[in-house]
């Protein structure tokens, strides 16, 4: 009789243990998904702000068509694609925006314009938020990837089908360009 009870208790403990591991992995993954959604929110905000910027700037910067086109093109490729593709598009927009604001330095009338200054502040704030959202996303991904690789969680992770997530990182192209020549 004692033997049967013992077996039941052992099975119960094992079940609880597995449930605990499963739940902790789920929590980590949910945090990753939420963090990604937050990046999306900020990317969308930037997406929405850009047309305002382009129209505010167009009147003043009549001869800078190239820079404006760059930003509009990068914007359209932003809203679809995988994590890696979105990261690439986002970095392209950051660069294009930097160009616009750098060029705007040559137009004092534009710089003094209230509307432009507000937009500049909002876009700058949004760029910061994108950076922070990326940071939090990468932190969450790190916690999750670590969670499914440590022992003994790695067994259960394989069984339940948890796979490592991608980091939202620097462009592949940027990484390749670092060559040291002597």
């Amino acid at each position: 009789m004692v033997a049967t009870w013992l077996i039941i208790v052992i099975i119960a403990v094992i079940v609880l243990f597995v449930v605990y591991i499963y739940n902790s992995l789920i929590k980590l993954r949910v945090r990753v998904k939420n963090a990604w959604a937050q990046i999306d929110v900020q990317l969308k905000r930037r997406y929405d702000l850009i047309p305002n910027l382009v129209s505010a700037v167009k009147g003043y910067m009549k001869h800078e068509k190239g820079v404006l086109e760059e930003v509009t093109k990068a914007r359209t490729s932003l809203m679809s694609g995988s994590t890696k593709e979105k990261a690439k598009a986002s970095n392209q927009i950051t660069d294009a925006l930097k160009s616009i604001f750098a060029v705007a330095e040559n137009y004092p009338n534009l710089k003094a314009n209230e509307n432009f200054m507000q937009l500049q502040e909002e876009l700058s704030g949004t760029e910061s938020k994108i950076a922070y959202a990326r940071q939090f996303y990468n932190d969450s991904v790190m916690a999750f990837n670590e969670g499914i690789q440590v022992f003994p969680k790695n067994f259960f992770a394989k069984i339940f089908g948890f796979h490592q997530e991608d980091f939202f990182g620097a462009e592949e192209k940027e990484k390749k360009n670092v060559k040291v020549e002597f």
């Binding site: 945090r31 963090a35 937050q38 900020q42 507000q118 502040e121 909002e122 700058s124 704030g125 949004t126 910061s128 938020k129 950076a131 922070y132 959202a133 940071q135 939090f136 932190d139 969450s140």
Partner: protein, 299 residues
């Protein structure tokens, strides 16, 4: 120590301090109860008073403080950058909702956070701070305040304040019970009773002081923790270090409407600076600024 180690270490110490506190309170409840004839009664009374006290300060606390300091809600377009900074750091901290933003009109450089949990929180900043700090330094300060919210420091401090309040109340009870010579159905010999009385009196006098010192120790630990967590949010400890340097140089740290009750919430003591001494340190709500700067620069 690295940032992560700092955070883990501080969290452990805080919990230990709170635990010691609770032991203290129960001990006093026990002794009071002993003299009124029932230790269970003593402990029960202590807990009931504590809970009522706690509920009142917990739910009423934040709005009372904001009113006392005459803080006004910050709006765009005047405070666009400040609001964006707070929202950005809330995202970095993984908060579901950014704290509300308030501003105090005062030339002193200071800031504080209120709110029992991230859903009901607020960060307040003086106009002096906004004028004197650059963007990186402001981010450092906001990240520090955001960390207080994220680490539930405000709730911890409220808890600690309640403990101290209860300790004072109960010590009062204890002293009164000796003065009026009321004892329970005691079967003790005369000598034992005298020993108990002496111990009781010593406890009654020391308890509030020790309680206050423990609360301030918790407060100081939490400040270090907020510094470390804030650095983790910005990945740039120098921002806050530079801000603290500027705050240190502030000739007039006095925030007009601050008082002893709200002092521990500010990022830097809102009272006039005085020379460093052991006793001053023991009863100060904040660690010495130079130590904080040193720790940040060493991260």
């Amino acid at each position: 120590m690295g940032i992560y180690e700092e955070i883990a270490w501080n969290k452990r110490k805080s919990y230990l301090l709170i635990f010691l506190f609770m032991v203290f309170v129960i001990l006093i409840g026990f002794i009071v109860g002993f003299f009124y004839g029932s230790t269970y009664f003593g402990i029960g009374l202590a807990l009931i008073i504590g809970i009522i006290y706690f509920l009142i300060s917990y739910y009423g606390g934040a709005s009372a403080i904001l009113t006392m300091t005459k803080a006004k809600e910050a709006t765009k377009p005047k405070y666009t950058h400040l609001i964006n900074t707070v929202e950005g750091l809330a995202i970095a901290a993984g908060l579901s909702k950014p704290p509300k933003v308030y501003v105090i009109e005062d030339t002193a450089l200071n800031a504080f956070a209120t709110g029992r949990d991230p859903e009901h929180s607020a960060i307040t900043v003086t106009t002096g701070l906004l004028d004197k700090l650059d963007r990186l330094e402001l981010e450092g300060v906001i990240a520090h305040e955001m960390s207080h919210i994220k680490n539930f420091d405000i709730r911890v401090m409220m808890l600690a304040a309640v403990m101290v309040g209860m300790t004072v109340l109960l010590s009062d009870f204890l002293l009164r019970s000796f003065l009026w010579g009321r004892r329970g159905r005691s079967r003790d010999s005369g000598q034992l009773s005298i020993i108990f009385i002496l111990v009781g009196i010593a406890l009654a006098i020391l308890a509030p002081l020790v309680g206050e010192a423990i609360k301030l120790a918790i407060s100081r630990k939490r400040e270090y923790l907020a510094d470390a967590s804030g650095a983790l949010l910005t990945r740039y400890p120098k921002g806050l270090a530079d801000a603290l340097k500027k705050i240190k140089e502030d000739p007039d740290p006095l925030v007009d409407h601050a008082n002893k009750a709200t002092a521990h919430l500010f990022i830097s003591t809102p009272f006039r600076k005085s020379k460093k001494s052991f006793m001053k340190n023991l009863f100060s709500t904040h660690p010495p600024i130079n130590d904080r700067i040193k720790k940040l620069e060493g991260m």
